[in-house]
């Protein structure tokens, strides 16, 4: 299985553990975890080798959506899937997270390992490697070049 470095952001230690436990149960990759307690902490903990982010919304200091916006505004993180894992359920909130915050997926609490799998499976190939937006873009440009030639 491929090694994947995941950033798990939630002000609840219990929920960070629940996310890690669900991901480990899936056995789709060998996850290495970096944890953060809020958006501000997550910005400090973020390093360029983070490959996927699991992000709560309602946190003190900086919310998950504020963190996602700040991260996307850097311009070099579009390839990193951001999975919102939140208790916020209204459609308006989902819309804000996905369209204004730049998150890729939305998983509501409480969740099961099965729901987690359905949410993130399209980002992994059979070997546990992440299929990121960047790689998708590279593949697309590879095929575009072949077609052009």
């Amino acid at each position: 299985m491929a090694n994947i470095k995941a950033l798990v952001v939630d002000d609840s230690k219990i929920m960070r553990s629940a996310v890690k436990r669900a991901l480990d149960q899936l056995m789709i990759a060998d996850f290495e975890y970096v944890e953060a307690m809020n958006g501000e902490d997550a910005l400090e903990q973020f390093t360029d080798d983070i490959q996927i982010i699991f992000l709560d919304w309602n946190m003190p200091k900086m919310t998950g959506v504020e963190f996602a916006k700040a991260l996307r505004e850097r311009g070099d993180t579009d390839h990193i899937p951001i999975i919102m894992v939140t208790a916020e359920k209204s459609m308006g909130k989902v819309d804000i997270a996905l369209n204004e915050g730049g998150a890729n997926e939305y998983l509501t609490k409480p969740f099961t390992a099965d729901k987690m799998h359905k949410t993130i499976k399209r980002y992994f190939d059979d070997s546990g490697n992440l299929i990121t937006g960047k790689e998708k873009a590279e593949k697309k440009s590879f095929f575009s070049n072949i077609l052009k030639s």
């Binding site: 609840s12 219990i14 208790a87 916020e88 359920k89 308006g92 609490k109 409480p110």
Partner: protein, 164 residues
Amino acid sequence: MIENKTPTRTIPDEIVDLVKQSVINTFESILGEPPVYNESETQSGPLNGMIGNIAVFNPEHTLTLMLAFPKETAVALSEVFVGMELPFESDDMGDLVGEISNILAGEVAANIETIGFRGQSSLPTATRGSDLTLFMPNKPPTKKMKFEANNGVFWLNMALSESR
């Protein structure tokens, strides 16, 4: 003719019903089975346990939700949620009760939005103690509901007040 200008001192039934259903949905998603609302008991004595406190609010109104768990229920819930019994006195237990309150508030916020109450959730807090009694200053309209689950009984107290 003298108009009765006494404000309503009860929470509108449609809000009560949506919150009740939200509690049932939330705990069903956590426990696997829906808790049963016991409408015959609307009062409770002092609590030896934990209270999770959270609010759904907008600039006009604040709906305060207080989940009251007897000690035995809190410990039993931890086994379902975390996979092991958490010590009642631990920080993790406070974290758990706060998170359950947070999940409930998300469900309530989504449900009461359907009747025009568009609000956002506060951050949750949790209180642990014995002989705990809930009371609301300024006496806003309140409603107390008892629920019974396989893992024990718990209470949901709510209050509707004007936002300050």
